[in-house]
């Protein structure tokens, strides 16, 4: 039973770490896509660079927000 308890605690840390890593992979893909399309759009129409830059930063904040949902869940499993 002590082994079970120890395994439970260890499993929580393992799950939290893997979850955070997978969330970061998703966020990296998303923000990379945003960067790619924004740079291409600026190359196509340099005069719209200001608007495109604003949209890029805004959209990146949303994608990061979703990744941080996953971080919050991982922290919950770690500490509760």
């Amino acid at each position: 039973m002590i082994l079970e308890a120890a395994a439970g605690a260890g499993l929580a840390k393992f799950g939290a770490a893997i979850g955070a890593a997978i969330a970061v992979i998703g966020a990296a893909f998303g923000i990379g896509n945003i960067g790619k399309s924004s740079v291409e759009s600026i190359a196509r129409q340099p005069s719209a660079a200001g608007d495109i830059r604003t949209s890029m930063i805004l959209t990146a904040a949303f994608v990061e927000g979703v990744a941080l949902f996953a971080i919050v869940v991982c922290l919950l499993t770690l500490f509760f």
Binding site: L58, E64, G65, F69
Partner: protein
């Protein structure tokens, strides 16, 4: 260019010269025990009944508790320091909150660190905005504002036109006081959370209760002022009957009413809390590595300082972005509710 190079060289030399001083104090403090990183980080993130400024300097704050048995009790938190009991109340070791002898929390409206910081933010915001308003009342259209008032005008104009009017369109004036309040409040709280010394440094927007309250105000602003068509579009939307009869779309729309403020809450909370944790962890690296010895501590201090500078700049950007994102999303939702067709 030459000035930059000289500055960097001088900075590096000053840093290297400081190292012998640090290694001496390291030898003295060797017997103090292990550095508890978790306590440092959670101590800075969570709310407390006193404000711990530096070392021994602590500001004790009043505790105001009410329960049906003992009535209203007001006392300074130093009576409860170190786990002592006062008038039947003590601080629970696990949760850090005041509980009575049975472990039940009373109705607790103490002035905690976060509450004091909230007061400070309110005083700061009210004084800045009301003083600017007084300038405009006196000088109106006669003069163009300069300096500080000009900067305030840029910010308010940006939120009023680029965010409120662009998202809500016709009738945006009703909501711009709320949107400006929420933007400036979140921005000020975020920025004050980055300042490490009193009166900044309390983790306000990294506390889910505070962000939940901001989201509840957004919920009220979106739903309480919405015309009938908005509620019709939730419960009987303009979609084929098959999706309406089994209440698929209405259910999704109804859940959507609550997921929007929820995502506002979690986005702001997670971003700011994660930033604080990162900066606190990077700073703790200095203490952990000095415990091993100066040979490990010195280079890791340099690394930690460099990373901390970078992370602080990133956190500054995140502070602005998160305030802006909260405001523009709320404005978008208000606009959608107001102009449902």
């Amino acid at each position: 260019m030459r000035g930059d190079r000289h500055f960097i060289i001088r900075l590096a030399v000053a840093f290297l010269l400081l190292l012998p001083i640090s290694s001496k104090s390291w030898a003295e403090e060797q017997g103090e025990g292990k550095v508890d990183v978790k306590e440092i980080i959670f101590g800075h993130l969570s709310d407390a009944y006193e404000w711990h400024i530096a070392g021994e300097a602590i500001i004790h704050l009043p505790c105001i508790v009410y329960s049906n048995e003992s009535g209203l009790k007001v006392f300074m938190s130093d009576k409860l320091e170190g786990g002592e009991e006062y008038e039947g109340y003590h601080i629970d070791a696990e949760s850090g909150k005041i509980v009575n002898a049975a472990g039940v929390r009373p109705f607790d409206i103490s002035i905690t660190k976060n509450v004091l910081e909230l007061f400070f933010v309110c005083i700061l915001l009210c004084s800045v905005i009301l003083l600017s308003a007084r300038w405009y009342r006196k000088n109106g259209y006669k003069k163009a504002p300069g300096g500080f008032i000009g900067m305030i005008e840029v910010v308010i104009n940006f939120i009023d036109k680029q965010v409120a009017e662009a998202s809500i369109g016709h009738g945006y004036e009703r909501f711009s006081p709320y949107l400006l309040t929420v933007f400036l409040f979140i921005l000020t709280c975020n920025l004050l959370g980055l300042i490490p010394i009193f009166p900044g440094g309390a983790n306000l927007t990294g506390n889910i209760a505070v962000t939940l309250t901001c989201a509840i105000t957004a919920f009220i602003a979106i739903n309480a002022f919405a015309p009938k068509e908005y509620f019709k579009s939730i419960f009987w939307p303009n979609v084929p009957l098959a999706l309406k009869a089994i209440p698929l779309m209405p259910t999704i729309e109804f859940i959507g009413v609550f997921t929007k403020p929820f995502s506002l809450t979690v986005r702001l909370f997670a971003n700011i809390m994660a930033g604080h944790i990162i900066i606190l962890s990077l700073t703790s690296i200095v203490f952990i590595t000095w415990q091993v010895g100066p040979s490990v501590g010195a280079p890791m201090t340099a690394v930690s300082v460099a990373f901390c500078i970078f992370m602080n700049c990133l956190e500054l950007l995140v502070a602005f972005i998160q305030a802006y994102v909260f405001t523009i999303l709320t404005a978008n939702f208000i606009g959608l509710a107001q102009h449902e067709e």
